[in-house]
């Protein structure tokens, strides 16, 4: 992989291309296979088409993952699409984020196959939309220019509006899609206005040139930066721009909810990280104050509101707002160590959040989700393994030692303390203490109460089983890994390549 100096370098777009091609192939395959009586010697039923498309989509995502991993392992530095106009770049940060996005999307494919059957909404478009959204995320995490950034955000969001309303006959799904669409497109307009003002103030859409031309005394530039940050705060559901999240998460089909909570958040945060480092390095202090406020508000509101919820999906929505707050701590602190801690947090967050949603998905039966707290009473008798796994995932989110959640929070908070930020970790630790109440309510219900109401689904499909096992193993491995602290971080090597990335950005 030689960095070319004059030629356009299309290999940068390889992961994006694979995922985007996958979405078109899936779309065609559904039309071609769906009309036939039998395919590959099997009768064509709705379930068969669903499983086939889910398999094909995960193959494409897996190829993209391998390509990204290849970049990650062999990358000497950073390659851009066209040295004169970078537009999209590939470095370790991008490769890492692409891997996370691909893992999240593969999990969604595996989970969706049985879940959509249970809800009787199995249509092939689901996978095409999913892959399109994933390709948008890949574009988003590798963009180094406002134009590609905007394209990435929209390519990610528009398919997800449709996915949120995928249960067309379900009023709550309709409502979820509508709210997500209205808030999302309103946000996009705000974000875009911010980009236009930045372009006007700096005369360029390229991150590096924006950084060079950025003048903090120019009102236009400050307004543009503010609108850009507000737009991203909406996308990651940080308080006070979070009101849409619980409604949308509750109403959307759970497989889509888990995708929104994980993949969207991961890619939006990585893009925000890149903007903060690459485009607004000189603005550090003021930007840091902004992130400080967003972070503290998200932690407090997210944790407090999660306590009073009666619906598990809504509770997980508020907990994901609180998690966004923790991640924003890293952006507020703004050291290399904090950025590395953010990336590690995102990695752990992916597994523990998908895991928790996977349990909710595995219980869905008879066309309905089982997402109220009462539905979990006595689960340890009817589905002991699932009860144990759900306990593991919520305990990890609460941050109990021995799980990945603890290590992630620990290195994040210690990076903040090291930089002299005292109040943020204090708020975050108090918030985590509150979170024990609502997270541990689930295990208490599952293990101390008798089962009531309708029985849950009794069988777990292969895909669901795979996701649950992978997430559980990952949460435990990331938690039981050698001692926590700086030694651990260097083992993870995140610090090294974050430093590398930051050095390349200037």
């Amino acid at each position: 992989m030689v960095t070319s100096t004059s030629l356009v370098n299309p290999s940068v777009l390889a992961p994006f291309g694979v995922v985007a091609t996958g979405s078109l192939v899936v779309l065609l395959l559904e039309v071609l296979v769906g009309k036939r009586q039998s395919f590959l010697g099997r009768p064509v039923t709705r379930e068969f088409v669903g499983t086939l498309l889910s398999g094909v989509s995960s193959i494409f995502l897996f190829i993209a993952l391998i390509v990204a991993a290849q970049f990650f392992a062999t990358m000497p530095g950073r390659i851009v699409f066209d040295p004169a106009h970078p537009m999209v770049a590939m470095d370790r940060l991008t490769a890492f984020a692409t891997i996370l996005v691909c893992i999240g999307s593969i999990f969604t494919c595996w989970l969706a196959s049985t879940y959509l059957d249970e809800l009787r909404i199995h249509h092939g478009e689901f996978y095409a939309l999913l892959l399109l959204a994933s390709s948008g995320m890949v574009l988003l995490v590798q963009s180094v220019d406002l134009v590609t950034l905007f394209m990435g955000i929209e390519l990610m969001s528009i398919p997800i509006y449709a996915l949120a309303g995928f249960a067309r006959r379900d009023l709550r799904s309709n409502e979820s899609a509508l709210k997500y669409f209205l808030v999302g497109s309103f946000t996009s307009a705000i974000l875009l206005y911010g980009m236009a003002l930045l372009y006007g103030a700096t005369g360029s859409t390229d991150f590096v040139q924006i950084r060079q031309a950025f003048d903090a005394s120019n009102l236009l530039a400050i307004a543009g930066l503010g609108l850009l940050v507000v737009g991203f705060a909406f996308k990651v559901a940080a308080v006070p721009f979070h009101q849409w999240a619980p409604d949308v998460y509750e109403g959307a089909p759970t497989a889509v909810t888990s995708y929104m909570a994980v993949a969207v958040k991961v890619s939006a945060f990585v893009a925000l990280l890149r903007i903060a480092i690459q485009a607004f390095g000189p603005m550090d202090a003021r930007l840091s104050d902004l992130f400080w406020v967003l972070s503290a508000a998200s932690i407090v509101v997210g944790n407090v509101m999660a306590v009073i919820q009666e619906n598990v999906k809504r509770m997980l929505a508020y907990s994901s707002i609180a998690n966004a707050g923790y991640i924003l701590i890293g952006l507020a602190v703004g050291t290399e160590e904090a950025y590395a801690a953010v990336l590690f947090f995102l990695l752990v967050y992916l597994f523990m959040n998908v895991g928790a949603f996977a349990v909710v998905i595995t219980l869905a039966t008879g066309g309905k989700d089982r997402d109220r707290y009462e539905d979990y009473a006595g689960l340890s008798r009817t589905r002991p393994t699932l009860a144990a796994l759900l306990t593991l995932f919520v305990v990890a989110q609460a941050g109990l030692p021995g799980t990945g959640g603890f290590i992630a929070k620990f290195i994040l908070f210690s990076a903040a303390l090291k930089q002299g930020f005292v109040w943020l970790p204090v708020i975050a630790i108090l918030g985590s203490a509150v979170s024990f109440y609502y997270y541990l309510r689930l295990p208490v219900l599952m293990y101390t109460r008798d089962p009531e109401g309708a029985a849950p689904r009794m069988e777990t499909s292969t895909g669901e089983g795979l996701v649950l096992c992978t997430c559980a193993v990952a949460v435990l491995l990331l938690g039981l890994f050698p001692a926590a602290g700086p030694g651990f971080l260097s083992h993870f090597r995140a610090l090294e390549w974050v430093r590398e990335t930051v050095a390349l950005l200037g």
């Binding site: 134009v147 528009i158 006959r169 409502e175 006007g200």
Partner: protein, 101 residues
């Protein structure tokens, strides 16, 4: 006669504000969609204005992208509104209130 940049930016800011107020206060979903389109087009206007002032094409290219994206967005949005209308016989946002707190 050349229109000065300030006028273009001013007009764009006024249009954007009208769009924002419309999107936040109107109750009819189709009107909200139109308001959001107005916001996007206000941004396009300022992008073109800046681009012309700099004598570059970057902004113009950006505008073409935005127009494409806005078309895709409004197509999906209208689809969502239609599926909602089929289930509810209403396009008023105040009727959309199943999910709260």
């Amino acid at each position: 006669m050349v229109v000065p940049l300030e006028h273009v930016i001013g007009l764009s800011a006024i249009l954007f504000t009208i769009g924002t107020v419309g999107a936040l206060t109107r109750r009819n979903l189709v009107v909200i969609l139109m308001s959001i389109e107005l916001m996007l087009n206000a941004v396009n206007l300022s992008l073109v204005g800046f681009s012309r002032a700099f004598g570059e094409v970057d902004g113009h290219v950006f505008v073409l992208m935005v127009i494409t994206v806005a078309a895709a967005e409004v197509a999906v949005g209208l689809g969502i509104v239609i599926s909602l209308f089929r289930n509810r016989d209403s396009v008023n946002v105040e009727d959309v209130s199943l999910l709260k707190w």
